[in-house]
Amino acid sequence: GQQVMQIPQYQHVQEGEDFTTYCNSSTTLSNIQWYKQRPGGHPVFLIQLVKSGEVKKQKRLTFQFGEAKKNSSLHITATQTTDVGTYFCALPRGNMLTFGGGTRLMVKP
């Protein structure tokens, strides 16, 4: 089945530093979604990427879809304590989503 590897598993940053999480697939993806889950919370949809090489921005968050549509990244500029949580990439497969293992971001104030 379609597998996705997400790295790193954990990341500690000082507030104000940048953060990046990567999602890699062994197969070409039709599209990819990103979710954020705060500690004790539930996943919240952030964005969907569809086109090869696509770059989308949401304030301090930048999402990229690789040219070969096999990888994606989420970059946060100048992290804040409100960015704390686990970031998941998710691959649509039929009518289901296959989630990556997530990257847990911790921010030191």
């Binding site: 979604q33 539930h42 964005i47 969907q48 998941f88 039929g94 289901m96 989503l97």
Partner: protein, 115 residues
């Protein structure tokens, strides 16, 4: 605009018992999916319901069953509970006739503990 609502929020059950979890999708959404999230892991797809039928199923045993009602709400039933069934159960809904091309709206989940 109400989001996805789930009940109960927490539940403690004994091994071998049966449990029913409930979900009301976001207004305007017709498709409901259920996910199991173990501690420290990503959500795992259980199944999806659309037009009152199970549309797709993940790698879960038959002890896990569900139902969707005409008003699009849904139930997840788990029989013969095992300790390993302890997890956060998430309900997610989306529009577009069930198309996964739209982002999912997740509920806050039901935390099930099996003792």
């Amino acid at each position: 605009d109400a989001g996805v609502t789930q009940s109960p929020t927490h539940l403690i059950k004994t091994r071998g018992q049966q449990v029913t979890l409930r979900c009301s999708p976001k207004s305007g959404h017709d498709t409901v999916s259920w996910y199991q999230q173990a501690l420290g892991q990503g959500p795992q797809f259980i199944f999806q319901y659309y037009e009152e039928e199970e549309r797709q199923r993940g790698n879960f045993p038959d002890r896990f069953s569900g139902h969707q009602f005409p008003n699009y709400s849904s139930e997840l039933n788990v029989n013969a509970l095992l300790l390993g069934d302890s997890a956060l159960y998430l309900c997610a809904s989306n529009p577009g006739q069930g198309s996964v091309g739209y982002g999912y709206t997740f509920g806050s989940g039901t935390r099930l503990t099996v003792v």
